[in-house]
């Protein structure tokens, strides 16, 4: 697996000068793409923060070939790219082995892009799909998505007198992707560069489809200070809201087990979007939140034990 010291010597796929928000952790993983592997890579993005902030014509932050066409189709678009590479290999038009990476936010992945993602994975393209989950449509100004956690305030789930933020639990896309029985599915987070880079490398280099879901705190969307993204992502793992784990050929491995699982309130109450949940009036939401996290964590440990 890649050593961070060695990685730092290689050119990043993504340059400085991009226009992501101060403190946005997305470049942590985009810079790793070329540093973790010796393969040449081609990247395709869904419409979203990363796409908008990295490609304002006539500038580009991308040091590797990069394409964007629309919001819901990153996986389908990259299916085409990957397939043409397959043709070139078959016809001996290239001796390179190029790896394809698609990147979308949770809006472009959990919601509008889930159809094209699911189908691309089912078809078995040699493609790593990375979702950076920041828990809402942040690019359009913080609207709720299928990944938005219960109780979170967004501009379409505002806190009012009778309703307090999002009323539904988030969907568990990683588990949906596991159900595709593809070679590699993992959850990672931007606070743990060793685990993250290992997973990006594995996802890129594995033969066939791979899916990586990365927790990526959003400064304005989570209503946190610009220096808090890494800390908040770490708390996501410590509270088991965002377990770090991987599933290789249906074998589950939990990559990080907190010595003492922290209560979800440690994660919730450090974010402005959950501030209202401190009010006893909404304590049932906090309880429901904790119950879901506990169930998910128990399920995960159970799967790990069962496939050991």
């Amino acid at each position: 697996m890649p050593k961070l010291q060695e990685m730092a010597k290689k050119e990043a796929a993504f340059s400085s000068g991009h226009r992501l928000c101060a403190g946005c952790p997305v470049p942590i993983f985009t810079k790793m793409l070329t540093r973790v592997t010796d393969y040449d890579i081609v990247v395709g993005s869904a419409t979203g923060c990363l796409e908008v902030a990295s490609s304002i014509f006539p500038y580009s932050a991308w040091k590797v070939p990069w394409i964007h066409t629309a919001f819901e189709n990153a996986a389908a678009m990259m299916s085409g790219v990957e397939t043409l590479h397959k043709v070139h290999r078959r016809k001996n038009k290239t001796d390179k082995k190029i790896k394809c990476v698609a990147i979308g936010g949770d809006g472009g992945t959990y919601d509008i892009g889930i159809q094209s993602l699911s189908a691309a994975m089912e078809r078995g393209h040699d493609l790593l799909y990375i979702c950076y989950d920041n828990g809402a449509y942040m690019n359009t100004g913080i609207q709720r998505s299928g990944a938005t956690p219960l109780g979170a305030a967004t501009t379409t789930t505002p806190v009012g007198t009778v309703v307090a933020g999002k009323q539904q639990q988030r969907k568990d896309l990683t588990r949906i992707m596991i159900a595709h029985h593809i070679p590699y599915v993992a959850q990672a987070s931007i606070h743990n560069p060793v685990d993250l880079s290992n997973k990006i490398k594995k996802g890129i280099e594995i033969d066939g489809p791979a899916f990586l879901n990365i927790l990526s705190p959003c400064i304005p969307g989570w209503r946190i200070a610009p220096d808090m993204a890494v800390e908040l992502a770490g708390l996501g793992a410590e509270t088991c809201f965002w377990p770090l784990y991987e599933v290789e050929d249906q074998n589950f491995k939990v990559n990080y087990e907190p010595k003492k699982k922290l209560p979800v309130t440690d994660w919730l109450f450090t974010q402005g979007r959950f501030r209202h949940l401190r009010d006893a009036k909404w304590s049932h939401l906090v309880q429901d939140f904790q119950t879901r996290v506990d169930q998910q964590w128990d399920w995960l440990l159970g799967r790990q034990a069962a496939t050991k």
Binding site: D40, I41, V42, G44, E51, V52, S55, I56, F57, P58, S60, W62, K63, V64, P65, W66, I67, H68, T69, A70, E72, N73, A76, M77, M78, S79, G80, V81, E82, T83, L84, H85, K86, V87, H88, R90, K91, T94, K96, I98, Q115, S116, S118, A119, R123
Partner: protein, 393 residues
């Protein structure tokens, strides 16, 4: 030597695809275009083509995968109809604006609702502003010939635009007609090798595709695209001429049938032209000066050439097989635009026919000419816009 065979329109388009032998085909089944991809899948399964077939989960993904494979540097094709084309709508624009010469057969079918599987042109007419070169075809032979010319036109460095070849659902797609299929090698020589431009897979020369383009550049890029469309017209004339020299079938931007001395002209698109020609033959025998202008190229639209061809005629009936709700039919609007600068303007009116597969019989066409005769004799058009062959009409 070309082979003379009896084949359906869909079968002919599958043959064209086999001969073009694209790098990638991405497609999703929809009636009445499905058979094209079924036939092509068999060619793939039998090793008759070198193509990778991506059997996607929607038309939106079909066009997305086509764009991906095209930007990656390949020659790519697909086929669809009706709502499938509507679902592609977003990606049609993106294919054109990213200047990707994707090739697509559109088997014309009515758009929902009500759901209907039969022919009209509402699907491709709805896509007329997307930036694709649009060809229309009266029969199997024309559809096939247009498709053989399509890559040569779309991939021309002066053009680099996607090309849509349209033909009528069921009437052509499922009807067996006799036609000529040219020799594989001759077709491939005519088409030539695909040339990639700024390929995404050229990792030594990384390119950013699909950047965010704001008020400071967007309009220049749109203008560039429009200019490519204008340039396409002369490329189409040139390629059509070379096609005629090579294969013996001559195509202009549109077809003029008994037009030279015609007083009364019908302008129409696709299969109905066959019926119109038959009626014209009959009326000509009776001494009536009637003619047909059959559209082949709808985008870019050959305004000046059409105005020239209609010069001297006294009345023009434009037959639209689609509706633009709240406006005249799309073909009528273009013909009307074309005639604006004409010195002697003919009488001009619009008839909508055949929606959702409503049959037009020869007698219905004769009625069209009867009406235009009345209008001409009276010196005025009674109804500018009407539906033909419709209940309560």
């Amino acid at each position: 030597m070309p082979k003379t065979i009896a084949i359906t329109g869909n079968g002919a388009m599958a043959e064209a695809m086999r001969q073009i032998n694209p790098d990638v085909v991405a497609a999703f089944p929809i009636t009445p275009s499905t058979q094209i991809i079924e036939d092509f899948a068999k060619f793939v399964a039998d090793g008759k083509v070198d193509t990778e077939l991506i059997t996607v989960e929607s038309e939106h993904s079909a066009m997305s995968a086509c764009i991906g494979a095209s930007v990656a540097g390949g020659r790519v094709m697909t086929a669809t109809s009706s709502n499938g084309l509507a679902l592609m709508w977003e990606m049609l624009y993106i294919a054109a604006s990213m200047r990707q010469p994707v090739l697509m057969t559109v088997v014309n079918r009515a758009i929902s609702a009500p759901i209907n599987i039969h022919c009209d042109h509402g699907d491709s007419m709805g896509a007329r502003d997307a930036g694709w070169i649009q060809f229309y075809a009266e029969n199997n032979q024309e559809a096939y010939d247009n498709m053989i010319m399509a890559p040569v036109i779309g991939e021309n460095m002066e053009v680099r635009l996607p090309v849509m070849v349209c033909m009528d659902g069921f009437i052509i797609s499922h009807s067996i007609e006799t036609m000529e299929i040219e020799e594989d090698q001759k077709v491939r020589d005519f088409i030539g090798e695909h040339t990639a431009l700024n390929s995404l897979l050229d990792t030594d020369n990384p390119v950013t595709w699909g950047a965010l383009d704001l008020h400071d550049y967007y309009i220049e890029h749109r203008r560039g695209q429009q200019e490519a469309m204008y340039r396409a017209k002369s490329v189409i004339e040139d390629v059509s001429m070379r096609f005629g020299e090579e294969f013996g079938r001559k195509y202009d931007l549109f077809e003029s049938y008994c037009l030279d001395d015609a007083d009364r002209v019908v302008v129409a698109i696709n299969s109905v032209a066959g019926e119109i020609k038959e009626v014209i033959d009959e009326l000509r025998e009776q001494g009536e000066k009637v003619g047909l202008l059959k559209i082949r190229l709808f985008r870019p639209f050959p305004y000046a050439e059409i105005a020239q061809a209609l010069k001297g005629c006294k009345i023009v009936t434009v037959m639209d097989r689609s509706t633009s709700m709240g406006a005249y039919g799309p073909l009528f609007s273009e013909i009307s635009n074309a005639l604006y600068d004409a010195e002697a303007k003919p009488l001009l009116y619009n008839r909508t026919y055949g929606l959702g597969g409503r049959v037009m019989l020869l007698d219905d066409i004769k009625d069209v000419f009867k009406e235009s005769e009345e209008y001409l004799n009276n010196g005025k058009v009674e109804k500018m816009f009407d539906f033909l062959n419709v209940r309560g009409g």
